[in-house]
C-alpha cells in the first residue's frame, strides 16, 4: 500500500512519480506506451481478478474553467476490450490549478488492485480518479472451490472492475458517482449522468427505508444527518460496500473496497481517524464549497476512509526507473 505525494507540476514528474508509486504498490507493467504505461492491477484475493490501467499523456487538454493539459487514466479489462474500457479520466498536470499551493501536487492511495487519486483539500473536476478490483465475497467467486454458503446460484464472479472520475460527483464528495464505468463479468455500464439523474455506482449507506427523500432528518436542509450512537454520539462505522445496478433493481453489492470503511460523519478532507490502532484518513467530504446538496445525498452523510500507510513523497528529482529495452518513453 502506498500513499504517494506526487509532484504534478510537469507531465514527466507526474508520470514518473506515479510510476514509482505504482511499482511500490505491487502493480506490474504490461507494456509501455507513448508517454505512459499500461499497468496490471492484481487482486490479492485471487490472481485471476485483474484489471489494467492506462496512464498516459496523450497531449489532451481539457476546459473549463481554463485550458490545461491532463494525464489520462483509463481503466481496462485484461482483454482491453473497447466496450469494457472506461472513458479516459483526465487529471490535470502543470501549475495551472494549484488552489493556492506553491505548486501542483497530487496524492494517490494505491493498493495492489485499487487506486484513489485526489488533490488534497479540493474537490473540483479533473483532480480525482478512483477505481480497481473490489474484494469479492468468496462464495460468489467462480474460482472458490468449496463455498461455505449453501448457494445454488449459477452466477459466479469471474471479473469485476469499477472506476470513476470526479466529473459528475464521485466518492470524493459523496457516496454516488455520476461519471463511471463498471464491469461485472460480461455486464458493462458506462455512464456520465447529470447530477439529478440517478447514477448507479454508489456506496451503500444505512438509513431508514422510506423514500429517498425521507432519510433521517428533514430533506434538503443543510444540516447533515448522521447515524450515530446515542449517548457517545459516535458515528456509525460500516463496511464500504460498492454497488451498482444493471439498469433496473436491485442494486447489487459487487464487493467491498480494500482497506476502507464508511463513517457517518461530515469531516473535511483527509481528516485523520484511528480505528483499533490503525490510522486512516477521510477521502470524502460531504459538502464541497459551492456544491449544492443533492436530493439523494442530503439524507446520508457517508465519509469514505482509506487506510493511511504514511505518505511517500515523489519529487521530480527522483531517479527515473530503468527503461525497458524497447522503450518509447519520452521525458
Amino acid at each position: 500500500m502506498v500513499l504517494a505525494d506526487i509532484d504534478a507540476s510537469t507531465s514527466a514528474c507526474f508520470r514518473n512519480g506515479f510510476h514509482l508509486a505504482a511499482l511500490k504498490a505491487g502493480w506490474t507493467v504490461d507494456r509501455t506506451v507513448t508517454n505512459g504505461y499500461v499497468y496490471v492491477l492484481t487482486s490479492p484475493q485471487d490472481a485471476l481478478l485483474q484489471c489494467k490501467l492506462l496512464v498516459q499523456d496523450s497531449g489532451r487538454t481539457i476546459w473549463p474553467p481554463a485550458t490545461s493539459p491532463v494525464i489520462d487514466f483509463q481503466f481496462l479489462t485484461m482483454d482491453e476490450s473497447p466496450s469494457c474500457a472506461s472513458a479516459p479520466y483526465g487529471i490535470r498536470w502543470g501549475n495551472y490549478f494549484t488552489y493556492g499551493r506553491p505548486s501542483r501536487r497530487l496524492r494517490f492511495h494505491l493498493t495492489p488492485c485499487q487506486v484513489f487519486g485526489y488533490f488534497p483539500g479540493v474537490d473540483a473536476p479533473a483532480n480525482a480518479v478512483m477505481g480497481g478490483v473490489p474484494f469479492i465475497d468468496p462464495n460468489a467467486l467462480e474460482s472458490t472451490a468449496e463455498r461455505c454458503a449453501d448457494d445454488g446460484s449459477e452466477e459466479k464472479t469471474w471479473r469485476a472492475v469499477w472506476s470513476s472520475s470526479d466529473g459528475n460527483g464521485s466518492f470524493r464528495s459523496g457516496y454516488v458517482s455520476g461519471d463511471y464505468c463498471v464491469v461485472h463479468n460480461s455486464d458493462v455500464i458506462r455512464e456520465n449522468t447529470g447530477l439529478f439523474n440517478p447514477p448507479r455506482l454508489r456506496l451503500i449507506p444505512v438509513n431508514r427505508p422510506d423514500g429517498y427523500l425521507d432519510g433521517f432528518g428533514t430533506v434538503n436542509f443543510n444540516t447533515p444527518v448522521m447515524m450515530r450512537w446515542m449517548g457517545s454520539e459516535e458515528p456509525l462505522l460500516h463496511d464500504a460496500f460498492i454497488a451498482w445496478s444493471s439498469g433496473f433493481q436491485p442494486f447489487r453489492i459487487r464487493g467491498t473496497l480494500w482497506d476502507a470503511f464508511c463513517r457517518c460523519e461530515f469531516v473535511t478532507w483527509e481528516s485523520p481517524f484511528v480505528l483499533e490502532d490503525i490510522p486512516f484518513f477521510s477521502y470524502t467530504s460531504g459538502y464541497a464549497a459551492g456544491y449544492p446538496p443533492h436530493w439523494y445525498q442530503v439524507g446520508d452523510v457517508l465519509t469514505l476512509y482509506l487506510r493511511d500507510p504514511g505518505v511517500t513523497v515523489y519529487n521530480c528529482d527522483e531517479a527515473p526507473p530503468p527503461l525497458p529495452e524497447e522503450s518509447n518513453y519520452v521525458y
Binding site: D151, Y175, L213, I253
Partner: protein
C-alpha cells in the same frame, strides 16, 4: 476492521413463537387469551408477578332510595304469607352470567313480610332502603365471589359499588351482572416480569377490556413499566395501552372510553393457520415481546390499518459500556401507525425509568438511496440476487422532536435480523441460517406497486423486513 457479528453472545436467548386464541365468546370457554399469552411469556423466560397481577373489577350503581323494603307482617303471621316459590317466579335481583357457563346464577330479593322463605337463592329485604342496600351488597359480593373495595356516593341517592375479584387472573373477565344493577367484570389479568437486563426489568400487565355494548370484549389492555429491582417501583412510570379495533393507543392513567366491539370468530382450529381472525401470533424472549393477528391478510378489511391489533414491546440490546441510556424500553403499536407494514414504528419510549413519551422507533437498513424504478421499490442484493441479512438495529431519540430527526442508534433487537426484501403479511415463517424465523414486519410490501400512488413507490422506498429467530413455531397454544 472489526467483524460485524451477527449474534452477540448475550443474544443467545431462546425465543418462542406461539399462537394464542383470540377467544372471547359466549360459547364454551376454552383457554383464556390472556392466560395463553401468560403461557408464552413463561416459556420465553418471563416470570409471573402474582402479587401485582390485576384483579378483575366491575362497577355498578343503583338508586338506594328506590330499593324495596320489607312489608309489614300479616295479621295471621307466617300462615298468611304467600308461598315461597312465588318469589322465584319474580325477576331476580342479581343475575350473574359467567363465560362458558350455560345458565346464569340468580339470586332473588325476599320480602320476608309477604312471602314464606323461597326455595331459590335469596336475600332478605331490609326495613329501610338503606338496610336493603347493605344486605344487597353482601349478596352481590357473594354471588360474584368478589370483594367490595369501594362504596361511592354519587349524589341524589345514587351509590356506586366497585368490586374486585379475590384472586388475580383473567377468569372472571366477561362475567355479566344484571338485575338491580348491571355491568361486566373486566381487567383481570396477569403481570409478568421480563428478564433482568442491565439491572432493569419490564413489568408488563395485560388484561382484557370492555366493549361498548353487550359487555363484549373488544380490547386487550397492556400496562408496561420499566423499573429497577424487584421491589423498587418508586418513580416508575407506566404506559397504559389498549389494543382494539378502531380505537387508538394512548398513554393514560385511567382506562379510556370504550370502543366499538369487534367481530369475534368461532373457536379456532389450533391446527389451522389460515390468517383467520381467530389467532394472535406471539414472539417472545426474556426482553422482548411481539404480538399480532396471525397471518393478517393484505386486503383492506384485514390490513393492519383497518384492524390494528399488534404490539412490539422491547428492551433492546446495547453493547457493553454503552452510555446512551440505562436502558430503554419501547412499545410500538399499530394504531398510531402500523408496524407490521413498515419499519418506522410509532409508539412510546421510556428511558432510564423516566416518563413515557410518544415517540418513533426506526429499524434502519442498507439503502440503495436511488430514486427508485417506477412502480417498484429499491432493493439491495448481491451479484447472485441473494436476500441479504443484516443486524436489526433500533434508532430513536430521547427527546422526540416531532419529526424523524437525527436518529440515534439506541440498541439492537434481540434475536432479530433485517432482510433486504419485503413479504406479505401472510408470510409467517421461514427457514434460514440454520433456524426458524418469524416474519415480523415488512416495509411497504405490495403485490402490485402500479396500483399504489405516492412517494414511497415512485421515490425509492427500500425493500426491507424484520424477522425474529425462534426455537419453534408450534401452532398449538400452550397449556
Amino acid at each position: 476492521m472489526p467483524a460485524i457479528e451477527f449474534y452477540h453472545p448475550e443474544e443467545i436467548h431462546p425465543s418462542v413463537a406461539r399462537l394464542v386464541p383470540n377467544e372471547r365468546t359466549s360459547a364454551v370457554r376454552r383457554s383464556s387469551t390472556v392466560s395463553g399469552l401468560r403461557g408464552v411469556l413463561t416459556l420465553a423466560g418471563w416470570t409471573l408477578d402474582l402479587g401485582r397481577s390485576p384483579k378483575a373489577q366491575v362497577s355498578v350503581s343503583l338508586h338506594v332510595p328506590s330499593l324495596p323494603v320489607r312489608s309489614p307482617e300479616p295479621p295471621g303471621g307466617e300462615s298468611d304469607k304467600l308461598p315461597g316459590p312465588l318469589v322465584c317466579a319474580q325477576a331476580p335481583a342479581i343475575v350473574v352470567q359467567r363465560p362458558g357457563v350455560p345458565l346464569p346464577g340468580r339470586t332473588w330479593a325476599w320480602d320476608q313480610g309477604r312471602y314464606k322463605e323461597p326455595p331459590c337463592p335469596h336475600f332478605p329485604l331490609g326495613f329501610t332502603p338503606g338496610q336493603t342496600f347493605e344486605i344487597f351488597k353482601g349478596a352481590l359480593a357473594e354471588a360474584l365471589d368478589m370483594n367490595i373495595i369501594r362504596t361511592l356516593g354519587l349524589g341524589d341517592g345514587v351509590v356506586q359499588l366497585d368490586l374486585e375479584a379475590k384472586f388475580a387472573g383473567p377468569d372472571p373477565n366477561g362475567t355479566q351482572v344484571a338485575g338491580w344493577v348491571g355491568g361486566t367484570v373486566w381487567r383481570g389479568g396477569w403481570r409478568m416480569l421480563s428478564g433482568e437486563y442491565r439491572g432493569w426489568f419490564i413489568g408488563l400487565s395485560f388484561t382484557e377490556g370492555p366493549g361498548t355494548s353487550g359487555g363484549l370484549w373488544d380490547a386487550w389492555e397492556f400496562g408496561a413499566r420499566l423499573h429497577h429491582g424487584m421491589e423498587d417501583l418508586s418513580g416508575t412510570q407506566e404506559v397504559a395501552l389498549r389494543l382494539a379495533l378502531s380505537g387508538r393507543w394512548r398513554k393514560e392513567a385511567t382506562p379510556p372510553p370504550p370502543y366499538s366491539s369487534i367481530g369475534i370468530g368461532a373457536p379456532p382450529d389450533p391446527n389451522a393457520n389460515t390468517g383467520d381472525w381467530s389467532w394472535y401470533r406471539v414472539c417472545a424472549c426474556p426482553y422482548q415481546l411481539a404480538i399480532w393477528f396471525d397471518g393478517a391478510s393484505d386486503t383492506p378489511a384485514q390490513t393492519e390499518s383497518a384492524a390494528p391489533r399488534s404490539l412490539f414491546l422491547g428492551m433492546p440490546w446495547a453493547p457493553e459500556g454503552f452510555t446512551g441510556h440505562n436502558p430503554f424500553v419501547f412499545a410500538a403499536n399499530s394504531i398510531l401507525g402500523v408496524f407490521r407494514t413498515q419499519m418506522t414504528w410509532p409508539g412510546y419510549t421510556q428511558f432510564d425509568g423516566k416518563q413515557w413519551r410518544e415517540n418513533v422507533v426506526t429499524v434502519p437498513c442498507m439503502r440503495a438511496r436511488h430514486e427508485g424504478t417506477v412502480n417498484s421499490v429499491d432493493r439491495v442484493s448481491n451479484t447472485q440476487g441473494a436476500v441479504l441479512v443484516e443486524n436489526a438495529y433500533v434508532c430513536t431519540e430521547k427527546n422526540p422532536s416531532g419529526y424523524i430527526g437525527n436518529h440515534r442508534l439506541a440498541g439492537k433487537l434481540w434475536n432479530c435480523a433485517v432482510l433486504a426484501q419485503t413479504y406479505p403479511c401472510a408470510t409467517v415463517e421461514a427457514d434460514m441460517l440454520g433456524g426458524k424465523w418469524v416474519h415480523v414486519s415488512s416495509h411497504g410490501w405490495a403485490a402490485d406497486y402500479s396500483t399504489l400512488p405516492g412517494r414511497g413507490v415512485l421515490y425509492g422506498a427500500q425493500a426491507a423486513s424484520v424477522w425474529w429467530k425462534v426455537e419453534s413455531t408450534s401452532s398449538a397454544p400452550p397449556e
